[in-house]
Subunit: 284 residues, 2 copies
């Protein structure tokens, strides 16, 4: 994927080198943030910039900032006190590899670097500031971090559909939606365009989340790059647990389709349509 290559190259430049003090902290940040991955969020960011007519490069630093936020959240979620996951993307989690203290601080440092990167993004002050307002709202207590909080507090207890939707919308949907909105913003799209791309991101994000929940049930650890069945073992609230596998598959398809239909026809680039398909293709 061409987008992912650009993102990896830029991440490599933005992350401090691991021979600069504090070396271990920088090494842990690079280990987690540069680990092989789909780069789904930054790829979406770049693709949405292009879909509104801008160059992909206009959204490159924003996409990297979002990948750093994503990486920070994975490191903290994997900690023993939260999800206690020892594998991430097929390798030892950050705390397994570097110790818990360094993992906590590497997450914090990636979070700080994300906002620093975005605040230095090459665009006019109004655009950069608007992007910071969007991203900070997306990661706060009514976004990424709040969704994780509800997720862990609901473990082992019966969760109704409204709560499950809130967990998904906040924990996964908000950052994916922000990836698309920021792409449209840096690409030069107006408020209406940003809103359409946010809707695309929310819907496709939901499709990915439901599909991930299904794969956690039916996939193998090798396919997932982490322990399979871990959601069920922890009594996590998931879509398949509430609705069964078949209804979940159908719901993922509907969300993916609805995401594409949120866009104007001219905005439905091959990449954005294929990505929505990819979210659910993995299930067949």
């Amino acid at each position: 994927m061409a987008y992912a290559g650009k993102v990896d190259q830029r991440l490599h430049e933005l992350l401090p080198p691991s021979d600069l003090a504090p070396e271990k902290l920088h090494e842990a940040m690079r280990y987690s943030c540069l680990a092989p991955g789909k780069r789904l969020r930054p790829a979406l960011c770049l693709a949405c910039a292009e879909a509104v007519g801008g160059p992909a490069e206009s959204a490159l630093d924003a996409g990297c900032a979002i990948e750093m936020v994503h990486s920070f959240s994975l490191i903290h979620d994997d900690l023993p006190a939260i999800d206690d996951d020892e594998l991430r993307r097929g390798s030892p989690s950050c705390h397994v590899r570097f110790g818990e203290a360094t993992a906590i601080l590497a997450g914090d440092a990636l979070f700080a670097l994300a906002f620093q990167t975005l605040s230095n993004a090459p665009a006019c002050a109004d655009t950069v500031l608007a992007s910071l307002r969007l991203l900070t709202a997306a990661v706060g207590t009514q976004g990424l971090v709040g969704g994780e909080a509800i997720d862990i507090s609901s473990e082992g207890s019966a969760v109704d559909e409204a709560t499950l939707e809130r967990i998904h919308a906040w924990k996964t949907g908000s950052l994916i939606a922000a990836s698309c909105t920021l792409g449209a913003l840096f690409g030069g799209g107006d408020a209406a365009a940003q809103s359409r791309f946010a809707q695309y991101g929310r819907q496709v994000g939901l499709a990915f989340q439901i599909a991930d929940d299904i794969l956690d049930e039916v996939g193998t650890s090798a396919q997932l790059g982490k322990a399979a069945g871990s959601d069920r073992m922890r009594g996590k609230a998931t879509y398949p647990a509430l609705h069964g596998i078949d209804r979940s598959r159908a719901a993922a398809r509907e969300h993916a389709q609805s995401g594409v239909l949120s866009l104007l026809e001219s905005e439905r680039t091959t990449f954005l349509v294929q990505l929505a398909d990819f979210a659910v293709e993995r299930l067949s």
Copy 2:
């Protein structure tokens, strides 16, 4: 202190209410961030805005953002995997009161809210963006988080003076210096003024850090609001451990004085001079 009152009132408004979901997360954020404290950093921020001729209110949201960052760093530093402190400001630490998972997330959420608050500060886009660049640099791997990383990696081993100075400058100095710089910036001070106030902040920050290290050696737990002698027990790098108590006292005094001398005479407001005195007064 009039500044602290304004800050507490504004923090009370900015922090999400604890009856809003996710309730426990919001409660933990308020518990830690509104705990009684000196509000040293935001008070400095407001005082520096006034010292350059602006209203204190111009720097109020910036000061609150800085207090949120400070509060985030205390929560994470107190975690079992890092400093393992059970007391903070005389009360149970966040993780003792709310559990480790919520404490990690409350720290993350305060960090996000800090940048959100700053990005919404009432000033022109260029000023707000400049403040975000300053604050994100001050908390990154060559600032607050990096200083903590070096601090824990040097526990139990002999630390030379250069390393100790770097720990102090990054872990404590950078956020206190940023408090002063942001105050001067929002108060309308030019680049030269911002630089003078940064220097004041670095020097007074060092005075406070050395004094805190001395108090950890000679104070009681009741005076400190946390376990006394905890630095020594953990083999932490401190100024008194390297130079003894007497030389440390003298160094604290010199830094406080040098901070005041960094400012123009017209900028040496009663508050800023008294605060520099206060840093070392506690030692007599």
